[in-house]
């Protein structure tokens, strides 16, 4: 009786809703990320200079007490720009992920729950989308219309839709077989209710873990698109664009590229830590008892 067996071993390890002991990665990751978000939100009020305040005489100055991280080629304060850039980069990362979730999760739920033809169509479409290497898809989509931040967000979001669909679908497939879903059907619930109230809450943890890692991909992909010139629009600037623009000056004024580079590194590492931490905390397999 394999089923009876799994039931028993499952009974031996209670399903955990939230980590019992917080793990280090999770704590550090979320603390840093929280700090970054606070800084990003508060940036316009806490920056020492306006991010687009130019001073031609004062350009490419190395870090000093006046300009903590130096100035860039227009004499703009790199520190202020890095803080402001946090807004765009984080927005980029989170919004693009949100877009991919907004499109991918419902499709994945639907395909996984209904199976059959619906599933087939959705999966084959994701096959096609998945056959585009990510940056190509972004490029093609962005080439269609003039670049702007929200379009880039949508494009990057769409790049991640197929993988979101796949993940959601596979989680849903598992959950749809769970007995509490059967029970909901047995009491005559509608499909929409089952999807959003029974399956979705339980599908969230793995989706969130994936999504958090995807935020970093989105930030990096956004940076790559900025590098190619399809990203944020100056004078506002995300970190990717800042690095891309500072690159010809890198040995003359390395701080201009290094500051956003490090900021980006910190962000990506924080999100990664958070994601890994979440994964470890939420994945029951990670807590399997010795026996």
């Amino acid at each position: 009786m394999p089923k009876a067996e799994t039931a028993q071993s499952a009974a031996a390890r209670p399903r955990r809703l939230w980590p019992r002991g917080l793990n280090g990665k999770l704590v550090i990751g979320s603390a840093v990320l929280l700090l970054l978000i606070v800084v990003a939100v508060a940036a316009p009020w806490i920056v020492p200079y306006r991010f687009d305040e130019m001073s031609i005489l004062n350009r490419l100055k190395p870090p000093s007490l006046r300009n903590w991280l130096g100035t860039d080629e227009f004499g703009r304060d790199v520190f202020s720009r890095t803080l402001i850039g946090a807004r765009l980069s984080l927005l980029m990362g989170f919004a693009a992920t949100a877009v991919s979730l907004a499109i991918g999760v419902p499709l994945g739920l639907w395909a996984g729950y209904r199976r059959g033809r619906v599933d087939e169509i959705v999966m084959r479409s994701t096959d096609v989308l998945l056959s585009f290497p990510p940056i190509m898809l972004g490029l093609l989509l962005l080439a269609v219309t003039p670049p702007s931040l929200w379009k880039m967000i949508v494009a990057v979001g769409i790049v991640y839709v197929p993988s979101t669909v796949r993940l959601t679908r596979s989680v849903t497939l598992d959950l749809a077989g769970e007995e509490f879903v059967q029970a909901a059907r047995a009491r005559g619930e509608r499909t929409s209710y089952i999807l959003h109230a029974e399956i979705l809450p339980n599908a969230w943890p793995p989706i969130m873990v994936e999504a958090s890692l995807r935020v970093t991909f989105a930030i990096l992909l956004g940076a790559a698109l900025s590098f190619i010139g399809l990203g944020a629009q100056p004078p506002s600037s995300d970190w990717g664009l800042m690095i891309a623009e500072a690159r010809p000056l890198i040995d003359r004024a390395p701080w201009v590229a290094i500051a956003p580079g490090i900021a980006m590194g910190i962000t990506v590492i924080a999100v990664n830590l958070l994601g890994d931490g979440l994964r470890e905390a939420l994945d029951p397999r990670m807590h399997r008892k010795g026996g």
Partner: protein, 694 residues
């Protein structure tokens, strides 16, 4: 008694957990001699596996161990890893509970069996493989040479378990530790494995430490028994003494919780152990069983000592010699249900069929012509006949028991009659209305009147919802209880299933398995149904919890005039609760009838085999004749003609069984057997049950 080969002395084991230190074993002392089988029994969490892991030295870093484990004069506690590794596999073999995950999926089984030989005895691979093949033959696997080059997934569970056993004994160990080796298997297969182990012990003089929670199995295999409760040995001694004249209340309680299998039907309710298993992080002071013990007195507040007499028997209870019998259940005796023969059945399935299509990567591809002309590749899917032309009815107030091996299609049938699965063919009448093909929107009446209780306490409740809300949702959907009244209504339901009202606001993970199962029952009751499918509702529970849940279901049926379709793979449970029993094999019903008719001759050969495979916990209740099925794993695929059981049937007649559908024979009204054997031949079968117990 020979000098023990393996001795545990005052073994104490603690796990470091997030909540604190968990005392999994507390001064455990026991010994296993050569050629002797010591069974360790206890409920889930009592520390059985911990004993095995401690002995094998497979504990993780979170475990702290003290005391002594000696094997043949060598102290194992604190032994260095290299010497330990040398003992493992060579002198002490181990077989794990779950054959499905204990074999490496990507290595051929022959290699897995041969491996220890290479590392312990320095054989070359080919030589080791020869020895492995011999070992595979010894554990009773057919054509071991071919099997050796198979991968684990190509074998059935029983075969996998044999492979595991083979790999554990291939180096001729002197002690074999078996951690619930048959729990994951069907009874028929379990019987084969137990026979095999018995044979091995005799032929090789193996000492066995046999871990199980099933007292029936203990009775079949053990010489001596050690009863474990919450990390303490509460009783130890010869099998006859422990099972026959148990002297610890806990052992008595365990035995009393077992539903008894007899052809007499039932009138007595089982009497479970009250209360809950203690939390080992914070165990009760004094006698650890006292909080649940019906005989507890003030004196029990002190810790108890295990007193062992010179026969090696003893119990951890100061009263052990002077205990009365386990108290009878205080609830009302069971009401026998009227047959209600004439009236219209509540539910009737006619020629119900459910087929699954199972695609297979690399499977066949057939060229068909699309639109008559276009050649079109089509994947040839395998058809699984999960439910194959089944006709049953369930009358009002009646419990129809459904037994069968794993994969025989019980769950599929149970869900199909509720239209949770759409049948492939056949009629399904609920109170005379055909709902087999009704559109989903027309099923509201069925949804209200027919409900289901599931097997798995963990998966049957949404972990993200309060239990009360889960029940309330059903109330909101299917009843007209006004919004304000719902909470009270749900609390009444919680009362009904014996849960405190405060559980309304709990989350599933805050409940024990038995409590979750009660919530599942309350949820099923919320719509006020007439009919409930119980899909193995007690299979995942410990015996004592199982007993309370069975009693609850029984009471509810009497109180609310419910009808059950009660699914189980455990014949004793079905025999205990059902009015009528249907025996299912590979998607078909081979025998159906009143419980007592099915449990006494004439039997369908399959029923007979099932019955004789059920291990009974009463010492001396030896069966007159053991019938053993060949192989396992009922095939349910493809086109099938003839009797589905003929491949394993010990009494098969020959070609006719393979080619012609067996006729339905009706020895008594309502008792039908699908078999080619003539009735009188079937009649001649000896009773598979022990001669009427008392």
């Amino acid at each position: 008694m020979t000098a023990p080969l393996l001795t545990l002395d005052n073994l104490t084991l603690a796990y470091q957990t997030g909540r604190g230190t968990l005392r999994a074993l507390n001064s455990v002392s026991l010994g296993v001699g050569a050629g002797e089988t010591l069974a360790v029994v206890g409920e889930s969490g009592s520390g059985k596996s911990s004993i095995a892991f401690a002995t094998m030295g497979l504990l993780g870093p979170e475990a702290a161990i003290s005391g002594s484990i000696r094997f043949d004069g060598t102290e194992l506690v604190g032994l260095d890893e290299a010497s330990r590794r040398d003992l493992r596999g060579r002198s002490i073999g181990m077989v794990f509970q779950d054959p499905f995950t204990s074999l490496n999926p990507s290595l051929r089984v022959g290699e897995q069996v041969a491996e220890p030989l290479v590392y312990h005895q320095g054989l070359t691979r080919p030589a080791a493989l020869e020895r492995a093949i011999a070992a595979l033959g010894e554990v009773g696997l057919p054509s071991p040479r071919e099997l050796a080059s198979a991968y684990p997934h190509q074998l059935s569970g029983g075969m996998q378990q044999r492979v595991l056993i083979a790999s554990a004994i291939v180096c001729d160990p002197r002690i074999l530790i078996l951690d619930e080796p048959t729990t994951a298997l069907d009874v028929t297969v379990e019987a084969q494995i137990l026979d095999l182990l018995d044979h091995l012990r005799r032929s090789r003089g193996l000492g066995m430490l046999f871990i199980t929670h099933n007292l029936g199995v203990v009775n079949r295999i053990a010489d001596r028994v050690c009863v474990l409760y919450a990390g303490q040995v509460v009783e130890i001694g010869a099998k006859e003494a422990v099972l026959g004249r148990s002297s610890h209340p806990y052992t008595k309680g365990l035995l009393a919780s077992l539903p008894q299998l007899s052809a007499q039907g039932r009138s007595q309710r089982i009497a479970p152990i009250p209360g809950r298993f203690p939390d080992l992080v914070d165990p009760p002071p004094g006698c650890i069983f006292a909080p649940r013990c019906p005989f507890a007195e003030e004196k029990c507040a002190a810790p108890q000592a295990l007193t062992v007499d010179d026969t090696g028997s003893g119990a951890r209870c100061w009263k052990s010699g002077r205990l009365p019998g386990w108290p009878q259940a205080d609830t009302a005796p069971r009401v026998a249900q009227p047959a209600g023969a004439g009236e219209e059945p509540l539910l009737r399935a006619e020629h119900l069929v459910k087929r699954y299509r199972r695609g297979r990567i690399g499977g066949g591809i057939a060229w068909t012509r699309k639109f008559g002309v276009l050649p079109w590749p089509e994947v040839r899917a395998e058809i699984v006949n999960a439910v194959d032309d089944i006709s049953i009815d369930v009358r009002r107030g009646e419990t129809l028991g459904l037994v069968g091996e794993s994969g025989s299609g019980k769950s599929t049938l149970g869900r199909t009659v509720l239209r949770l699965i759409d049948p492939s063919a056949g009629r399904l009448l609920f109170e005379g209305v055909d709902v087999a093909a009704a559109p989903a929107d027309d099923l509201q009446d069925l949804r209200k009147r027919a409900q289901i209780v599931f097997q798995n306490p963990d998966s049957s409740l949404n972990p993200r919802r309060k239990v009360g809300d889960a029940i309330a949702r059903a109330v909101a959907l299917q009843t007209n209880v006004p919004r304000e009244g719902r909470r009270a209504h749900v609390e009444d339901l919680l009362d009904r299933v014996g849960l405190p009202r405060s559980y309304y606001d709990r989350y599933p993970h805050q409940l024990s398995g038995g409590e979750k199962q009660r919530v599942g029952i309350a949820r099923a009751l919320a719509t006020g149904p007439d009919f409930i499918v119980c899909d193995e509702p007690v299979s995942a529970l410990d015996v004592s919890v199982q007993a309370t849940v069975l009693n609850l279901l029984d009471e509810l049926r009497d109180d609310l005039k419910l009808s059950y379709l009660f699914i189980s793979h455990d014949l004793s449970v079905v025999a205990y609760i059902a009015d009528r029993i249907a025996v299912m094999y590979s998607g078909r019903i081979c025998e159906i009838g009143d419980a007592k008719d099915v449990l006494s001759p004439p039997y369908h050969p399959y029923t007979q085999a099932l019955l004789s495979a059920v291990p009974l916990a009463t010492p001396g209740a030896e069966k007159s004749e053991r019938i053993r099925l060949r192989g396992d794993r009922p095939p349910s695929e493809g086109e099938r003609s003839g009797c589905v059981f003929h491949t394993r049937c010990p009494r098969a007649l020959g070609d006719i069984c393979a080619t012609t559908m067996p006729p339905l024979q009706e020895p008594r009204p309502g008792h039908r057997i699908a078999c080619h054997l003539p009735l009188d031949e079937l009649m001649r079968a000896p009773s598979a049950l022990p001669a009427a117990a008392e």
